[in-house]
């Protein structure tokens, strides 16, 4: 059993992300998942330029979130992101959102992505190189 590489992103809740209840509006967690996802990909060497060079992109086909506790303005947030599944043409990210100070789990979720051609948007197989990056086991960069 190997443990997957987990990327950790930190951010602070912006006032614009809160709603009339004084807590973060639920749609914003998908944006935080994106922060985690993009950081994960950058950390394993797959930035946007690399993506363009390889002529691949991916589209989100499913997104889920379970909300456990609210986040408030200026709370320090930690998003943990890892790859939970890699199939022939699709892969899944899993996320956990914590309050960085208290460690309380605020939300957890998943997104499923299908890899598509950058121009035709037709699904295509995940390349060996991209797969290798997705299942990367390396330690977090210092």
């Amino acid at each position: 059993m190997t443990t997957p590489y987990v990327s950790e992103s930190t951010l602070r809740v912006r006032y614009a992300e809160t709603d009339a209840q004084g807590i973060v509006y639920y749609a914003n967690y998908f944006v935080w998942f994106e922060v985690g996802r993009v950081n994960y990909l950058r950390e394993v060497g797959f930035d946007d330029r690399q993506r363009e060079r390889e002529g691949i992109t991916f589209v989100i086909v499913e997104a889920t979130c379970k909300y456990h506790a609210p986040a408030r303005f200026d709370d320090p947030i930690r998003v943990r992101t890892w790859v939970s599944e890699v199939k022939t043409r699709s892969f899944r990210f899993a996320y956990e959102v914590h309050n960085q100070d208290t460690g309380v789990l605020l939300a957890e979720g998943e997104t499923a992505q299908v890899v598509v051609d950058g121009i035709t948007f037709k699904p295509k197989a995940i390349t060996a190189e991209f797969r290798q990056r997705l299942v990367s086991q390396r330690d977090r960069p210092a």
């Binding site: 209840q21 749609a27 086909v61 499913e62 997104a63 889920t64 379970k66 909300y67």
Partner: protein, 139 residues
């Protein structure tokens, strides 16, 4: 879905699109809220009124499956219906279509009934009657 429930109509705003030229996936959660608000209002109990009565329905769970992208200025319709009523929670289901009737996304939200102190509470009778009436009609 046998019952289409409430239909909400609007156009995709430029602010909702991203670098891929399509509505960002997070926007669907906001569209679901549009559908949900219209659904409550159409049942004769606006969500704003629920809150003034001390009844809140924070989202406990959100799920969306995306089948086709939505483009700027597309005429979107969100079909919302109540799919489950429990003593302390409700679940709503959504279908998002464009002007051609193409299904773009489906999803659901599950909501816990809480009071002003965010403590879980049983859905009050006056509201339960409205919700169950709708369930009866749609079954």
């Amino acid at each position: 879905m046998s019952d289409v429930g409430t239909v909400s109509r609007f156009r995709v705003r430029y602010a909702e699109t991203d670098a891929m030229g399509i509505a960002h996936h997070s926007q669907y959660a906001i569209w679901f809220e549009v559908g949900r608000s219209d659904w409550f209002r159409e049942k004769g109990v606006s969500y704003a009124r629920c809150e003034t009565e001390g009844v809140y329905f924070p989202v406990a769970e959100l799920s969306v499956r995306f089948s086709q992208p939505a483009f700027y200025d597309s005429a979107i319709s969100v079909h919302t219906r109540l799919s489950e009523v429990r003593s302390r929670s409700i679940t709503l289901q959504y279908q998002v279509c464009d002007e051609t009737g193409t299904l773009l996304a489906t999803g659901h939200t599950r909501h816990i009934c809480v009071n002003e102190e965010r403590q879980t509470q049983t859905i009050p009778d006056w509201l339960r009657k409205v919700l169950e009436e709708d369930r009866k009609r749609s079954s």
